[in-house]
């Protein structure tokens, strides 16, 4: 199953992370959570790894509509966007919101998921712009 879309970015990690948050903000997604996986796992289990941040992006209008038709949809919210160091550069990976429709099998969720998918793609396209 395809569950993510990805971009390989160049440039300093923190700069890319900020660009990601700005791009999603421009499409109506606020940064609800920001989890520093590298720091968390270093503190909890002494793991050494590259930079790895999970941005929880939320479009409140879409989230509200989705919760109205499918209260359990919260287990799939917010839209997670991973920014991590990789050999090729800084990877930006976004969950495909279309999963919300396929996982729930809810016809009512389908148009909302499609709208979210379009906005996520527009945010990712912003990252590709020079």
């Amino acid at each position: 199953m395809i569950f993510e879309e990805a971009m390989v970015m160049s440039g300093p990690f923190d700069e890319v992370l900020q660009r990601v948050k700005d791009a999603f903000a421009a499409e109506g997604f606020g940064t609800l959570t920001e989890i520093d996986i590298q720091a968390t796992l270093a503190a909890k289990v002494g793991k050494e790894m590259g930079r790895y941040v999970i941005v929880g992006a939320c479009n409140p209008h879409l989230a509200s509509r989705a919760l109205d038709v499918e209260p359990q949809i919260g287990v799939l919210l917010p839209c997670n966007v991973v920014v991590r160091e990789a050999a090729a550069g800084v990877m930006v990976e976004a969950m495909d919101p279309g999963l919300m429709a396929s996982v729930t099998g809810s016809a009512a969720v389908t148009p909302i998921a499609a709208e979210a998918r379009q906005l996520v793609n527009q945010a990712l396209a912003r990252l590709a712009a020079p």
Binding site: E4, E5, M7, V8, G89, V120, L124, A125, A128
Partner: protein, 146 residues
């Protein structure tokens, strides 16, 4: 099965090339190597990969995927730059889910490079055309000018 049409990037003549052609297609008008970029269509993925006499770069993509659209023009340029040496095969994961399952693809765009029927490299995520070209050349041990 309909044969994909490839427009010669040198003389603009249109050429019909069967998906399972194993050789290097050339333009019927000017006889130059064609920039071989085509969709899988209804062809059998395994036989296309295994019968190819040139390396095959498989682009797993979807119409709804924004990063995939970023990669598309870069692959068109690459097909022209490596005409006669490389085939680029576009696989729509929604139309051919069995291919993405077979290759264990979880994210798109994913580029998988095959040579002599075997996978030699893969990369996930959209990146600039020049980096894709470098990745292909390095993976196939081609010199940049080749």
């Amino acid at each position: 099965m309909t044969h994909p049409e490839i427009t010669c990037h040198r003389c603009n003549a249109r050429n019909r090339v069967p998906a399972n052609t194993s050789g290097r297609p050339t333009c019927g008008k000017c006889h130059e190597d064609l920039a071989w970029l085509s969709d899988l269509g209804g062809a059998d993925f395994a036989s296309v990969i295994e019968s190819s006499s040139v390396p095959v770069l498989v682009d797993l993509w979807a119409r709804w995927c924004g990063p995939c659209r970023v990669v598309a023009p870069a692959l068109e340029d690459l097909a022209k730059a490596r005409a006669g040496k490389l085939r680029i095969l576009k696989v729509d994961v929604d139309e051919a889910p069995s291919v993405s399952e077979r290759l264990g693809v979880r994210g798109i765009p994913t580029l998988v490079l095959f040579n002599h029927g075997a996978e030699v490299a893969r990369t996930v995520g959209a990146m600039p055309g020049e980096r894709i070209r470098q990745w292909v050349d390095t993976s196939l041990a081609w010199s940049p000018a080749s």
